[in-house]
Symmetry: C2
Subunit: 308 residues, 2 copies
């Protein structure tokens, strides 16, 4: 699976994933009002608005980037209707040829982790029929429970040709409370990085493994160290844009050939229509603004990689 | 909210939570075959079987224990139909007067963690209407992202009178890979334990905080240390029974007055009908066997607490 992401990045020349993390604040009035009129003040109204919002963005960016990353929490917040919109979003993005990284940050032990892996990446046998859950291409995984929690995901990746990104160093300010703690003379995130490289050894697909890592754009020095510790792990980099990461911060996450990393931006793209830089906010030009923001981000990263 | 759990434990004299973690292997043939005939080989057939299975167990144990703990992964595996069965299970258990601990092990940052908290414990405003997601009483939370990931849950607990259990030391064999690592001269799980006590300080409800901890029955010595580090945290103890924990291992998790902990058993109760000790497996006496297994577990824990 990771090879498909590499090919997508080469084809689009954009190591960019668009985070589809809708919030009611980001939804243009024309979409939300229409659904409130149709469904009343309900989870259904928000969920259908999320899907229409995503669709308008995807229709305008699917030719520019290889992948999208829906954050399941935003949908889960609205219960079953929200998760139906999440599933419809995944299916629509895959129809448009995009790879889908399910940002689910799941992690448990043994057969429970296997259930999560089957839910988001695999399929379950019911009699002689294979039944799919959410059927994304990649998922994010939390490593706090150790190998018992991650290996069932690796098995499912191998069986269904899928991939995961394991949280190594997250982009948030308090990520250091646990992740930076020094243990055996090095920070915990380096230990997790070594484990990712190890877990990934049996899941190679081309130059990279299907088992990748999440490392926040907000910690570029740590990115440099982790790039060396995990030579076969593709790095998913959140924290660009709204969280403070800039193109110049990103060069450390990439290999010499400009591969090995993919950078996520959510708010900076999906809420670009509210930013006067991209469009008159009153015109609610969701898709057009998102497209401009992606092109800007592409230039920012390209420039940073050329100038390093 | 935690006070309601304490009262439930006092009333039933059972510091026991029944894990509603259905798997197709645990479902009696009479239930599964009926739903396969009705819905074909589909996620719907499994999901409806899960709900009927849970209902039969709950009907036979709701007067014996204060709480149940559905493991969402088992339901998520079957996509939207699975999650509908999960929601129906929560609602049914609450109707029967049981407290529901949603074993979701969620955790992310900032507004994303807030979305998870609202999804599982709170409600979201749509216009002037409050829309609930899954509406459990407690949820389990993964601490790998630090305070940024946990505090939004604490806020939601305070707003909606709910509780969480933060993973501190999990019951699985590889939990030590990260959690036991020595940092600042003590293992990481002790650091997380201290954080739980700190996070919980602003969410007190009686003698305990609404912010509790998960500590596996399989590590009783660590349970002893953690009981001291977190005097106000209620401890949710998984790993009893099938994972190897016995009643005698559990005394360390309790306070002197026999409170402060609640022990989970899943397979040992919900699959008791397959165990000849409780019933003739061919008769598929799901509810009757579950009831006997709960009573056995109650005696085991009571005996251990008396003999300590």
């Amino acid at each position: 699976m990771i090879q498909r992401l590499v090919e997508g990045i080469k084809k689009t020349e954009a190591p960019i994933v668009v985070g589809l993390d809708p919030k009611t604040d980001f939804i243009p009035k024309r979409i939300l009002d229409n659904n409130l009129a149709k469904y009343g003040e309900s989870a259904e109204a928000v969920a259908e608005s999320f899907f229409e919002f995503n669709k308008e963005i995807v229709d305008n960016i699917y030719d520019l980037v290889p992948a999208v990353k829906p954050q399941v929490a935003m949908y889960e917040q609205y219960g079953i209707p929200g998760l139906i919109a999440y599933k419809k979003t995944i299916d629509y993005c895959r129809e448009k040829g995009l790879l889908v990284i399910a940002d689910v940050k799941r992690g448990d032990i043994g057969s429970t982790s296997e259930s999560y892996a089957l839910a988001h990446l695999g399929a379950s046998k019911v009699g002689n029929t294979l039944v799919k859950g959410f059927d994304a291409d990649f998922a994010t995984v939390n490593p706090y429970l150790g190998s018992d929690g991650v290996k069932p995901f690796v098995s499912v990746c191998n069986e269904f040709d899928k991939g995961i990104f394991v949280l190594v160093k997250t982009s948030n300010p308090s990520s250091g409370e646990l992740q930076d703690k020094i243990t055996d003379e090095k920070p915990l995130y380096e230990l997790v990085g070594s484990l990712v490289e190890k877990w990934g050894a049996e899941s190679m697909d081309g130059a990279y493994s299907n088992i990748g890592a999440v490392v926040g754009a907000t910690y570029p020095e740590m990115g440099k160290v982790l790039r060396d510790i995990m030579p076969h792990a593709f790095i998913l980099v959140p924290g660009y844009g709204a969280q403070g990461g800039k193109g110049a911060d990103l060069v450390n996450f990439f290999d010499k050939d400009g591969l090995g990393a993919i950078v996520n931006s959510s708010r900076g793209i999906i809420a670009a229509w509210k930013n006067e830089k991209y469009a008159d906010p009153s015109r609610e030009l969701l898709g057009e603004a998102a497209r401009k923001a992606v092109l800007d981000m592409k230039e920012d990263i390209k420039g940073a990689l050329l100038n390093r």
